[in-house]
């Protein structure tokens, strides 16, 4: 049973455009929601993370929007660049636990 549903599976965006990746969850015990970025041949790396006490977190061109009532959160990449082309994973963690549940990933291609 997939606990974190991620969409879309793949995404093509023009350079300078906005990339949006969405995740939804059911488990209300989740209290930490990170996004990871993975380049081909590399391990995933933390990009940005949010806790449910805030509705938005911004770091440079990357923003997480969090909707607690809808149990959804999304990653927005503003002014997308070819260097942002990677696979992005959302994840969630149950309060008090150390393990993460990952979405299935979104392959983003930013065309020049």
């Amino acid at each position: 049973q997939q606990q974190v549903k991620q969409s879309p599976q793949s995404l093509i965006v023009q350079k300078g455009g906005i990339s949006i990746i969405n995740c939804a969850y059911e488990n209300t015990a989740f209290d930490y929601f990170p996004w990871y970025q993975q380049f081909p041949g590399k391990g995933p790396a933390l990009l940005i993370a949010i806790r449910p006490d805030v509705s938005e977190k911004k770091e440079g061109r990357f923003t997480i929007s969090f909707n607690k009532s809808a149990k959804q959160f999304s990653l927005h990449i503003m002014d997308s660049q070819p260097g942002d082309s990677a696979t992005y994973f959302c994840a969630a963690r149950v309060s008090g636990y150390s393990t993460l549940t990952f979405g299935k990933g979104t392959m983003l291609l930013v065309s020049p």
Binding site: F89, L100, F102
Partner: protein, 116 residues
């Protein structure tokens, strides 16, 4: 990569043979994890460790065992490899369960395993 090495980086083996993958960290982090990554499935947790000799199962633990005799090393063993275990295996580490950014998981470079 935050002081995490995985060995081997690539391995080809035959069905039925035992395989051991090693994860080594120099960060002295308490938590260590093994994931597998497969197309269409994302990252799935196999086993994890919360201290020396303390391990627990993840989502896809069948066919895998782990051991952690030292803080810095976490071994993943496929007792009798099957073709369904062909995958990319990632090790990850973290300092804490929660609080002040310490819960970030840092991933190693991965091991690509092919079981023929």
């Amino acid at each position: 990569d935050a002081g995490i090495t995985q060995s081997p980086r690539h391995k080809v083996t035959e069905t039925g043979t035992p395989v051991t993958l090693r994860c080594h960290q120099t960060e002295n982090h308490r938590y260590m994890y093994w994931y597998r990554q497969d197309p269409g499935h994302g990252l799935r947790l196999i086993h994890y460790s919360y201290g020396v000799k303390d391990t627990d199962k993840g989502e896809v633990s069948d066919g895998y065992s782990v051991s952690r005799s030292k803080t810095e090393d976490f071994l993943l063993t496929l007792e009798s490899a099957t073709s369904s275990q062909t995958s990319v295996y990632f090790c990850a580490i973290s300092e804490s369960r929660a609080g002040f950014g310490q819960e970030t998981q840092y991933f190693g470079p991965g091991t690509r395993l092919l079981v023929l």
